[in-house]
């Protein structure tokens, strides 16, 4: 089962929930792969403290022009939706940082004057956090495209033996999140009972609907304003699967990098219970 943890709003507790869920399932003997797809700021490792054994470069292609063959027809520049090439009489220039690596310019060039170079934009790192298999992507600072890193990470899932894959998604609802979440069996939406949490939860709900994924909500820092969230869950018929109360103890454990389910075993049971109810309610789960 592939379970994606997302939120819309940043800082609601995606990583907290994903990490505690992974530890709780592993603690019950399940084989878990944890995927940190927040490639601009992968930080689940701060909690899980994995030993990373492999680092694999991720590259994207960009056009390299053979000046001998180019006759400046301009078809490549006309084709490129991102204006990564400029062609004028006697002049062809490429702009690597604008290239999305689609390869279209190579295809449309009638002179076969374009080859694909490769540029490293980040890495995938693989290792173990005790019995949890741990993978994360890391985008180089200043690079604009997170999606290719996430795609590489997820391509590896085809060969994975683990029964449960937990995907820690980035914040927001744009391309990197969609790449992280799509093809999952279930979307776990983490929110907080504030107007911001509610607003961005609704965006995440719309995105998940669009992808056709079953979903459920975890209210983090739950308390007297929970109605803000339960209203919208009722409206949209999405179950609230867990409430994590606003507590000084949980916050202080988080602040020193200790996942609370490690030291408070009742939380292991609660996360285990949540997983069981997801499994029962989700037709696609195995």
């Amino acid at each position: 089962m592939k379970l994606a943890v997302l939120s819309g709003k940043g800082g609601t507790g995606k990583t907290t929930v994903a990490v505690n869920l992974a530890l709780s399932l592993a603690g019950k003997g399940e084989k878990v792969l944890f995927l940190d797809t927040d490639v601009e700021e992968p930080n689940a490792g701060l909690y899980l403290k994995p030993v990373l054994e492999e680092s694999l470069p991720v590259t994207i292609p960009y056009p390299e022009i053979d000046q001998e063959k180019c006759d400046y027809c301009g078809k490549c520049a006309n084709f490129c939706q991102f204006n990564a090439l400029a062609v004028a009489e006697g002049l062809v220039l490429t702009f690597q940082e604008l290239c999305h690596g689609c390869g279209g310019c190579v295809l449309v060039c009638p002179k076969e004057a374009i080859q694909e170079g490769k540029r490293e934009i980040g890495v995938i790192e693989k290792g173990w956090a005790d019995s949890i298999k741990f993978w994360q992507g890391r985008l180089n600072i200043g690079e604009p495209f997170a999606v290719p890193i996430t795609r590489h990470l997820k391509n590896g899932l085809a060969d994975v033996q683990e029964d449960i894959v937990i995907i820690d998604a980035p914040a927001g609802v744009s391309c990197p999140v969609i790449e992280a979440v799509r093809d999952s069996d279930f979307a776990l939406l983490v929110t907080e009972p504030t107007p911001f949490g509610r607003h961005d939860l609704e965006l995440a709900m719309k995105m998940v609907d669009h992808l056709g994924l079953p979903s459920g909500v975890v209210i983090n820092r739950a308390g007297k304003n929970n109605d803000l969230i339960s209203e919208i869950c009722q409206e949209r018929n999405v179950p609230i699967l867990m409430e994590i109360e606003f507590s000084k103890l949980l916050a202080s454990l988080g602040s020193i990098g200790v996942p609370f389910s490690r030291v408070l075993p009742q939380w292991q049971d609660r996360f285990w219970g949540m997983y069981q109810s997801i499994k029962e309610g989700c037709p696609c789960a195995s």
Partner: protein, 120 residues
Amino acid sequence: MKIGISAAGKDLDALLDPRFGRCPYFLIVDTETKEFEVADNPGNTAGGGAGIKAAQAFLQLGTKELVTGQAGPNAFEVLVKGGVKIYQAPQVKISEVIDLYHSGDLKELTTPGGRGRGSR
């Protein structure tokens, strides 16, 4: 001499648009006769890489002198490598830009402006 000017409108009463990549029009003006032609700037509607698209279109217009407010690093590179001299003028009417050109008061731009400044 024919010069190109980044313009907010389609005639000599229009203002110079200080954004090269995102200006709606280029006016190609004959500085002696004040006859002019109007060309759309395809960079105006580009999602990204507006300066590059604008600069490529400008090179195709054939004029080797441009008057604008500023050009970002990518546009600047395409223009300069395409042999275009870039002059800077304030946001005044195109007719006044021509006067400034004649009086030799336009400063040549030798360094690019900031990236993405023309975005809205």
